[in-house]
Symmetry: C2
Subunit: 350 residues, 2 copies
């Protein structure tokens, strides 16, 4: 299988390197041949080519079986008057590859339960899979500016079609069948027309195609509350692009160990994109102390979703649980205790 | 001063009644003459008139100095195929009275710190004032449906004008000056055109008119995270309608005692609307066990913001702190311990 690495900025190269080593170990152990090539994205791509997502990167990704991304962005490229920004590369690759579904498992590692900002009895047992629609909604709606002075007005449209809602709801319902068999759809149907279309479409898909999956709907404001006081009540949650952006970031704080959380962005048929949830952490870049585990767990998702290699994925996840159980911690999850380097953590998992 | 009471649905009448008693006690003590009249809103207004916000209610509100609302909604009016819904009354009164700013103080009551879902060291010291823009943004943007079958598409526009942003940012900056002198503006300027206009306008207003107020900007997804792992770092937070809906509900969970949180909706000049944050709690309606303290604290905000009666407002807030210190708890905040009735809690504050 051919895998494109997009190390990106900040700690991106360090953590991607460890995940690559883990994939190589899996290749050796299970007799797979993985070929890797690195391509540019984000700030480093702007520096070297002027474009946060060069054509060569898009082409290599199209030709690959799967993509492993580190992280993009940093203060160097934060000038608001700059022509382009690293994040533009992210938005563009999602659209170019048709990656319409972002999967974010929010799972508590029991060994790290004391790192959670939530009290133990509330966070215990939390294991949610979010599916965020990633190529529609207000992110890609038409925008405009008109008027001037105090009357200057800016607009951007939230748009969803039945087709877009159907495909993400189907994926979410299928995921639910492989887990706790429960799906929650989140919208703001009491105010927004696209949410009403979302709610109707989701209800129809669930009734016609997945009558066996337990299904409910929650308003986005209520969901923002439930995540804090009863996170362990949810199984699979599906929602639109903007609500998903906010809710998955909120949820990512709950386990208290952002450095442990991977995500996958999938399309229909083409390669999937796998990455840690956390950012490029420019403040610790190059120091060899970044936590590679989220990227390693992203590699596990890559095996599962793009290469259909469930045993191999589970082997990585077990290795990560084992190194945690053995007491290994990078600085971000050490809570002041002894910590190991990025390399040492990679070694342990390998 | 003339005050319109809008008891609404569920526990609304019970809790509004206690807040009225407290205002009467304030009137006696400080020599004010308050006149009260009750009007219909929400589900009960639909039942009696077919309209969740009858014309008589709008007129009475327009003629008043301030409005105290209980809560609206309930399963009785939840039928998705109904012509109108209780919440429509809320949206309409905001728009009719030009209530463009929703103020939500999120303050931890130290006596209730163990009710918080967050660990003590994280929630301690939290005292945020949110200002949510309430009559613009995607809530009131143009919406449409086109096409059919899988191509059916629904759209709704997020729209902000410079004028709308200016007035809410000014109010927020003024509020910051009366508190910790720090203001955080929340947007999604890396993706949305209205957020870029918001960010530019806010920056200009702050630089030109409030150079002495410490000012920063945070993306909405990052804010959803910060509220969970460092809520005590914020002073005043200003944001748009949709982001405010989500973030204030998220924040309302942090103290763990929703029954304690009031809110105010203000326009320029006309009467303000004051209400508890919590809903109509139909499951406990009529049992005499609802917590009236959020509504009583909303009455304190009414005195402060609409009647310019700061001493009187502070007297109510002190009375609430005192009854908590004395150990009185309604069932929702009793954590299984002994609890008192709605009336008894009202008596104690009076
Ligand atoms: C960088 C930004 C455009 C992006 C988004 O909002 O989608 C990020 O927040 C994310 O969630 O991946
Ligand atoms: C009922 C609903 C329309 C309303 C809103 O979203 O504004 C509510 O959630 C609120 O926050 O007051």
């Amino acid at each position: 299988a051919s895998i494109v690495l997009l190390p990106g900025d900040g700690i991106g190269p360090e953590i991607t390197q460890q995940a690559k080593r883990v994939l190589e170990a899996i290749g050796d152990r299970f007799g797979h041949e993985f070929t890797f090539q690195s391509q540019l994205i984000g700030g480093i791509a702007i520096d070297e080519t002027g474009d946060p997502l060069p054509e060569a990167t898009i082409q290599a990704c199209r030709d690959s079986d799967a993509i492993l991304l580190g992280a993009v962005g940093g203060p160097k490229w934060d000038d608001p008057s700059a022509k382009t920004r690293p994040e533009a590369g992210l938005l563009k690759i999602r659209k170019e590859l048709g990656l319409f579904a972002n999967l974010r498992p929010i799972k508590l590692f029991n060994q790290l339960i004391d790192a959670s900002p939530l009290r133990r009895e509330i966070i215990e047992g939390t294991d949610i899979l979010f599916l965020r629609e990633l190529t529609g909604g207000i992110y890609f709606g038409e925008s405009s500016r008109t008027g001037s002075g105090p009357d200057e007005t800016a607009s951007q449209a939230m748009v969803y079609s039945v087709r877009e809602v159907e495909r993400i709801v189907r994926l979410a319902a299928q995921a639910a069948k492989g887990r706790g068999n429960r799906l929650t759809s989140v919208d703001k149907a009491n105010v927004l027309e696209p949410s009403r279309l979302w709610r109707q479409t989701a209800a129809r898909v669930m009734a016609e195609e997945f009558p066996e999956v337990q299904y409910d709907v929650v308003l986005v404001d209520a969901m923002a509350m439930h995540l804090i006081n009863r996170p362990s009540d949810f199984d699979v949650v599906v929602t639109g692009n903007m609500f998903g952006d906010i809710l998955t970031d909120e949820a990512s704080m709950l386990p208290g160990s952002l450095g442990m959380l991977p995500s996958a962005s999938l399309g229909s048929g083409g390669p999937g994109l796998y990455e840690p949830i956390h950012g490029s952490a420019p403040d610790i870049a190059g120091k060899g102390i970044a936590n590679p585990l989220a990227t390693i767990l992203a590699a596990a998702m890559l095996l599962r979703h793009s290469l259909n290699a469930e045993t191999e994925a589970a082997a990585i996840e077990k290795a990560v649980a084992d190194v945690l159980a053995a007491g290994l911690r990078t600085a971000d999850i050490a809570r002041g205790g002894p910590s190991v380097s990025t390399d040492a953590m990679g070694d342990a998992v390998v």
